[in-house]
Subunit: 297 residues, 2 copies
Amino acid sequence: MEINQYLNHKKQLVEDKLDSLMLAADGPFSDHIEAMRYSLFVGGKRVRPILCLASTEAVSSTRALLEEALIIGCAIECIHTYSLIHDDLPAMDDDELRRGQPTNHILYGEAGAILAGDGLLTFAFELLAKSRSSISTARQLRIIRLVAEAAGPLGMVGGQALDIAGENSNYPFEHLQMIHRSKTGALIRCCVQAGGIAGGADEQQIEQLTLYGEAIGLAFQIVDDLLDATSTTEVLGKSAGADQMRGKATYPAFFGIEKTKSLALQAVEQAKSALDAFGPPAAPLVQLADYIYARTH
Amino acid sequence: MEINQYLNHKKQLVEDKLDSLMLAADGPFSDHIEAMRYSLFVGGKRVRPILCLASTEAVSSTRALLEEALIIGCAIECIHTYSLIHDDLPAMDDDELRRGQPTNHILYGEAGAILAGDGLLTFAFELLAKSRSSISTARQLRIIRLVAEAAGPLGMVGGQALDIAGENSNYPFEHLQMIHRSKTGALIRCCVQAGGIAGGADEQQIEQLTLYGEAIGLAFQIVDDLLDATSTTEVLGKSAGADQMRGKATYPAFFGIEKTKSLALQAVEQAKSALDAFGPPAAPLVQLADYIYARTH
């Protein structure tokens, strides 16, 4: 499958860039930086930065703009990583395993893990605000605003708060949608939007990319719910069946496995149809949408 | 004392602005927002936003620029508040009292408090990146960069990591300086710098404001150490003697009370002398430096 080659190539670009952007674990703050680096480099598919890159590619082939997208994608990956560190804390999901490896607080203690998360979140904005040459300061500011909103109290953090509060409670499907949209969907949508803006997309294109981003964000979360219900801990690299154990509402709990699969497929189709006007440069985005669904079987 | 009137007036400006900028605690995320608002409005002298405002006043009297400084100051206050919430957590300093009131996790639980902190930190960058009319996008980006660096892994968060790691260990005075400079000093210096940049300061002025900011950051921390050693829990609104109890190195532990006082005074004098070239518009900054020292008696 062609997409695997694309993913591997981009993943390597992201790994190399992350390594060069991230602080080195030396000097007086080395322990703190080591804790941040551990979670940042312990694994992960780098889906968010790759989405950002693919979105830039959909509107531009200028090398300098792809470089911008790479930096923005790395910043978003820092935010994603911080959210995983904090989600895994004993006070939250209390997970000891993530990507098949010990979670941050198992290795660096609770205080160390809280601060590693705080450090990564703050560092992400340092990266986003870095002096640039290829992108206008107005676009750069718009991207910072977008990322802060997607990751903030009405986005990812707010969604996590809802998720924690809703454990072991019966709530309607609309509430589950709200949690998904904020906790996972907002940051994924933001990758796609930010990539488009970095690439110089016009407002019409940004709107279409937003629709695409919302739809794959939804697909992503449905598939995640599905894998938690059907996969094994070995395959996931984190505890399978954890949602059910915690009494979390999920798509399979509401609709059963088969109907959930068809809802995932529907979201993927919706995502792809938002890209009609982009033509061949959007092929990676199309394949990324298919790739998300392909994880279900 | 004239400065008290100044402080009261500016404090009210900051309270009003914070209230209007901060999200309202309604809608699906109301519990999360309420937890953020609790710590943001539970009290505090608003020293950081006031420093930011006074610094802008030192270089400009344009109303629109003072308004910019107010927003920036509020964003920094959000960051300061998040740092207090996380510092108070059981995994960190485990404090139940702050400003004479229950700490965030006592009221909202550990998970709620971690997320309230995360939300405030992220929201601060949303505020800093908001569309503005009076300030150039280049200056706005420079301020975001400055704040992210001051609050990040080589600044405030890194300093907190050093502080936690250093409890009950004997380390040299130079290490204490490093902790102070990063944990408290960096954000205070950044208020002054950001205020200057918002006001249109030239590079020479920014340099002098940086010297001022570093010196009062130091004075502030020395006085804090001093008050912890000599004041009472009732006066402080947080546990007095906590540093000693935790085996934290402090200025009084290294130098005794009297010598520590003279070091605070020395830092204040240094701060004031950095303002020579600004003339009368810097009077509030001068008085703020004196005010910090006045807390010692």
